[in-house]
């Protein structure tokens, strides 16, 4: 880790990190400025007290149970979360290196997304941590609210080279153990792993009362498979090569992808995790919006 920090002194690295941070800040600030302020308040999860309703309060926070008992309107107020912990789990396996055309690779997209989320969390004075993995969890940045932690997370993401296989199931078990306190675990991965392993990992997290958001990140081409001529597909993560006319395989391939996504979605539902499919062409803001909408919808239940 010390070596990693040492690398941060490299102007090129610093410039890259800065680029990441700036991008993340721009994404988050731009995103936030377009929202109503209530999401700020609503981002906490700890209940504080009731107060009487006054005109202009958001009806979403009206306590209908209290109204039923007392025939008076009370608003539920939450304490600002000062000890909220979010752990961003980013897949850096070889498969995340894939990119089609001029688009970002899945890993690049994942880095921006992770940085944005971390920035967003710290912006609310919450603690954000990070875990990077491929075959195993190899970088762990414990959740903290400091800017230094953010920079460290960014540097950690930058230095990691994608070259090994995915083992997301085992990594999630590891994350669950390391997180200790109840946390919000956000998994950013293409999930190209054994589905049973993934299921076990998610169940393990859920058993530890962690909130889970799964961002299933795929390249646009991986979702659409629009190839038009004979192609040799060079397998990543140890898979064999395949020479085939993709036009003839497209239908069957899309079926496989669709079935896999559906299965992951079912597992997430069972583990009370949010499932958000994304592709690398999706604007980051749209991804965050989708996340927050789901997050707030969950808190309202």
């Amino acid at each position: 880790m010390a070596e990693s920090f040492h690398q941060l002194l490299d102007p090129a690295v610093l410039n890259e990190i800065r680029h990441l941070e700036v991008t993340a800040r721009n994404v988050v600030e731009g995103f936030i400025s377009g929202l109503h302020k209530s999401p700020y308040k609503g981002f906490s999860v700890e209940f504080a007290q009731h107060r009487e309703y006054v005109q202009g309060d958001d009806l979403r926070y009206l306590d209908w149970k209290a109204f039923a008992k007392s025939d008076k309107y009370y608003i539920k107020e939450y304490e600002e979360e000062t000890n909220f912990r979010a752990v961003i789990v980013l897949d850096t396996s070889e498969s995340m290196r894939y990119k089609s055309g001029e688009a970002l690779s899945k890993l690049e997209y994942g880095r921006f997304m992770a940085a944005s989320l971390a920035y967003l969390v710290q912006k609310q004075s919450d603690a954000a941590g990070m875990a990077l993995f491929d075959e195993k969890l190899y970088d762990w940045v414990a959740p903290a609210t400091s800017h230094a932690t953010l920079l460290r997370m960014l540097a950690t993401m930058y230095e990691r080279k994608p070259e090994k296989k995915t083992n997301v199931g085992e990594v999630l078990v590891d994350v669950a153990q390391r997180s200790g306190r109840r946390s919000l675990v956000m998994v950013i991965s293409d999930l190209f792993d054994n589905i049973e392993h993934l299921r076990k990992g998610l169940e393990h997290l859920a058993a530890r009362k962690h909130d889970i958001i799964v961002f299933h990140l795929m390249d646009h081409q991986e979702r659409e498979f629009k190839f038009d001529r004979l192609t040799q597909f060079l397998g990543m993560e140890g898979y064999p090569d395949l020479l085939v006319d993709p036009r003839a395989l497209r239908e069957a391939y899309l079926d496989e992808v669709k079935n896999f996504s559906a299965e992951v979605r079912r597992m997430c539902l069972r583990s009370r995790a949010d499932f958000t499919p994304l592709d690398t062409n999706t604007p980051l803001g749209v991804a965050l919006q989708a996340y927050l909408a789901r997050r707030m919808g969950r808190r309202g239940k």
Partner: protein, 822 residues
């Protein structure tokens, strides 16, 4: 064009074209892009799931491309396709037809099954070759789609109708059916069985008639169907010469071939001639067996005359020898004559076999009814065509031949009696004449038994059917009933001789016997034209019909002819008028056999005309000495020879049917004494069948048309005996022999010695657009034979269109399966 070029252009181009899609496919396989792919697990799963389908699609695509290009190339280079088909047929054993068009094919097979097809060489007959080839043709057809017609080229004998009337449509159709063995049938199994069952018929080839039937069948083929005509024959001179350019039926042959060719060309085909004959063929044949006597009286001797001919193809130059043998009624073999020296294509005439009276003598039980003797002549060693190595003749041996002589002017003085000399001459056998012989036994020389009556006795006779000839000599008039009985008698096949004379009422004869040309009398009578004075100058006879049997007897040499023409003995005769205009009947013309050499020209003296199945001879002079000096003045036996020969000729009507060619109908008039409850016919193979007699007017007769096999046939009249059993009443045999024409195994050649193919090409050279496909035994079925539509330009264009359609379909399919789904 040289062969190598045909192969290069014809086969090379289509094959190279066929390789193009494969090469393009292989090149495409080397031109692909590489992409690193993360979601490989999904891709591999999809690939595993669809691998088989993808491989099949890829293969189908490739085949479609190859097929399309081949078809396109085939359209542009059809000869290459023929090469491919030949190669497929020979190399892969594939059926030719299976490669040809899908259009139904009508195969019309003209199969020569005439007698010469039995010619064998190297243990195989021409017909076995033909049958084998015909089977292979039928095998190559497709069951349920193609049809076969089989026409036999052997001649079908059509029995003559009474009076020479034309055949009715029904009869003509029946005859046609006998020639067409199978007509446009989808039943290929039946065709195969029919070909297997067909045997060589012992009759001539009638190729023209067969081709006419083939034409009729070909023209019934629907336009959309392909038609093929294959003629399988041995192409011998005898069967085909008349169709050649200088042949008698060449014009008809060309006409029928033109019609056939016109129909075949519509499908791009042409007739195929398949030659199953053998080169260097040679055949010794007994071509004629005749007897010196038409009917042999019991105790008479007979001479059998045999012709032997050595037929050989042009390349056969060596002669050979042959020994002849004979047997009577299936008895022991006996040699006769010296060894016969034979030269190719020369005939040895009149090899004589003398049969002594004892050889033919009637047995005691036959002395009343007479008998027929079968004399079989055969060569000691059979050769390549066995059917003509033997020949049979049936000789009728009778106790006597009854002749009724009606004496119009009886007189005790022989010189004044009308029939004294005539009866003496005709009945010379009745008093046995001693002849110098080694045995010293008397030998009978004529079988005649003369019964002489006066005209007034005729009315008491029911009919004349117990006689074989009736002679009217200077009979003045005849009653209507007598005329009717005479007509019935002659119509049944017997002979009538009418001698003129001063007593004869010629006007009554003209009215009742001439009947305006429809009656018995051959000519219309006029007044006498000569001088009745016994001292007047006589005139000599002049032959008018040299092939007439009576004249032929005298035609052997100048000396014998002098016997006939030398004596000037006829002083008086009656002028006559031959039937003319409406009285003439082309089907029974009046033939002047002998004329009289008068200063005013030749006057008819002996005129013959048929009536029903019999014949009538009119003499314009008297039978006795009143108008001529035949008997006393001609010192050379002229009247005896003349009248004996005439009697032999007129009494031999039954003998005419005793020796027949294959297919000719046999018939026999039943006299009252011949009628029996049952008649059985046995053929040479020993098969027996009952024959039912027919009737023509008052005359009962037996007719038998089933003379399909050479050999001796036997008719037995069965009578009822006591106890309900039957016994033989009488028996008569007749011989059926092969037509000598079929013995000629010389190959068809032209003047330059070129073979049948050249002759056919010459014969058909004027036919526009005709390709003569001529093949020899052993050759594979050649181009244009069964191909029908194979060579059809239109079909290839159709195939080309299909090919292009394949390409478009493939392109469209590719576009559909490669279209991304949104």
């Amino acid at each position: 064009m040289p062969t190598w070029m045909i192969w290069t252009l014809g086969l090379g181009i289509p094959l190279a074209a066929a390789a193009v899609p494969v090469i393009i496919h292989l090149i495409n396989l080397t031109r692909y892009r590489r992409v690193e792919w993360a979601a490989m697990e999904f891709l591999l799963a999809a690939y595993r799931r669809t691998r088989r389908r993808l491989q099949m699609e890829s293969l189908i695509m490739l085949l479609l491309r190859v097929a399309a290009v081949i078809l396109l190339a085939a359209a542009l280079f059809p000869m290459g396709c023929d090469r491919i088909k030949d190669w497929a047929e020979e190399g892969l054993g594939m059926s030719r037809l299976s490669l040809s068009t899908d259009a139904p094919l009508h195969l019309v097979l003209v199969l020569d099954d005439s007698a010469s097809m039995a010619y064998a060489q190297e243990g195989e007959t021409s017909f076995e070759r033909a049958r084998q080839y015909a089977q292979s043709l039928v095998e190559s057809l497709r069951e349920g789609r193609d049809r076969v017609s089989i026409v036999r080229a052997s001649d079908v004998y059509v029995p003559p109708r009474t009076g020479g009337a034309a055949l009715t449509d029904a009869e003509a159709d029946k005859n046609r059916q006998r020639r067409v063995a199978q007509s446009a049938s989808l039943d290929l199994q039946s065709a195969r069985e029919l070909i297997s069952a067909t045997q060589v018929a012992a009759v001539d080839t009638n190729m023209l008639a067969a081709l006419r039937e083939a034409r009729r069948l070909v023209e019934t083929t629907p336009d959309a169907d392909a038609t093929a005509l294959v003629v399988v024959s041995d192409f011998l001179d005898a069967g085909w010469r008349e169709s050649a350019k200088d042949g008698a039926v060449h014009k008809d042959f060309v006409e029928v071939m033109k019609a056939l060719n016109d129909r075949l060309r519509r499908n791009g085909g042409s007739p195929t001639f398949y030659d199953v004959g053998f080169e260097n063929s040679a055949n010794v044949a007994i071509t004629r067996v005749d007897c010196s006597e038409r009917i042999v009286g019991n105790g008479m001797e007979a001479q059998i005359l045999v012709d032997v001919e050595y037929f050989a193809s042009a390349r056969v130059t060596d002669g050979r020898t042959v020994r002849l043998k004979y047997r009577i009624d299936g008895g022991s073999e006996r040699p006769f004559g010296a060894t016969v020296e034979l030269v190719p294509n020369r005939r040895q005439d009149n090899i004589t076999l003398k049969l002594a009276p004892k050889d033919l003598a009637l047995k005691p039980e036959e002395e009343k009814t007479g008998a027929s003797r079968n004399v079989e002549i055969f060569t000691e060693e059979p050769d390549a065509l066995k059917a003509d190595n033997s020949r049979s003749i049936v000789i009728h041996v009778v106790p006597n031949i009854p002749i009724l002589v009606v004496n119009g002017v009886p007189h005790p003085d022989p010189d004044l009696d009308e029939t004294f000399y005539l009866e003496t001459a005709l009945g010379i056998s009745s008093s046995r004449i001693e002849e110098e012989s080694s045995e010293g036994a008397p030998t009978r020389i004529t079988p005649n038994r003369i019964v002489s009556v006066r005209p007034e006795q005729l009315g008491a006779m029911d009919n004349f059917l117990d006689y074989r000839m009736v002679v009217l000599a200077n009979v003045s008039t005849l009653t209507e009933a007598t005329v009717r009985k005479l007509e019935e008698f002659v119509e049944a096949g017997y002979g009538l001789v009418i001698f003129d004379g001063d007593q004869l009422d010629f006007q009554q004869y003209n009215r009742d016997l001439y009947k305006g040309g429809a009656g018995l009398l051959p000519v219309k009578l006029k007044d006498p034209a000569g001088n009745n004075d016994r001292n007047a100058e006589g005139y000599s006879l002049v032959p008018q019909a040299n092939d007439h049997p009576v004249v032929r007897l005298f035609s052997e040499s100048t000396e014998t002819l002098g016997i006939l023409t030398g004596p000037k003995v006829v002083r008086n005769w009656r002028a006559v008028q031959l039937p003319e205009g409406a009285e003439a009947d082309p089907l029974r013309p009046a033939t002047t056999v002998l004329g009289l050499n008068t200063p005013a020209g030749t006057a008819p003296l002996m005129v013959e005309r048929s009536f029903g199945r019999g014949r009538v001879v009119y003499f314009a002079t008297t039978a006795g000495e009143r108008w001529n000096g035949f008997w006393r003045e001609s010192q050379n036996g002229l009247p005896m020879f003349l009248f004996l020969e005439m009697a032999s000729y007129l009494t031999s009507s039954e003998v005419r049917y005793s020796n027949l060619a294959v297919g000719e109908a046999w018939r026999r008039v039943l006299r009252v004494s011949d009628i029996a409850p049952k008649y059985m016919m046995r053929d040479p193979a020993g098969t027996q069948a009952e024959i039912v007699p027919t009737a023509e007017g008052a005359v009962k007769l037996i007719e038998f048309g089933g003379t399909a096999q050479p050999g001796v046939y036997t008719l037995t009249a069965m009578d009822r005996a006591e106890g309900g059993e039957t016994r033989r009443k009488w028996q008569e045999r007749f011989a059926v022999n092969l037509n000598a024409r079929e013995c000629n195994v010389r190959r068809l050649t032209n003047a330059e010695g070129e073979d049948a193919e050249a002759v056919l090409r010459d014969a058909l050279e004027d036919l526009e657009g005709l390709t003569v496909n001529f093949q020899r035994a052993g050759a594979q079925l050649g181009e244009g034979a069964l191909a029908g539509a194979d060579n059809q330009g239109g079909t290839w264009w159709w195939l080309a269109i299909v090919g292009v359609s394949f390409l478009l379909l493939e392109t469209a399919w590719s576009a559909v399966i490669s279209k991304p789904e949104v």
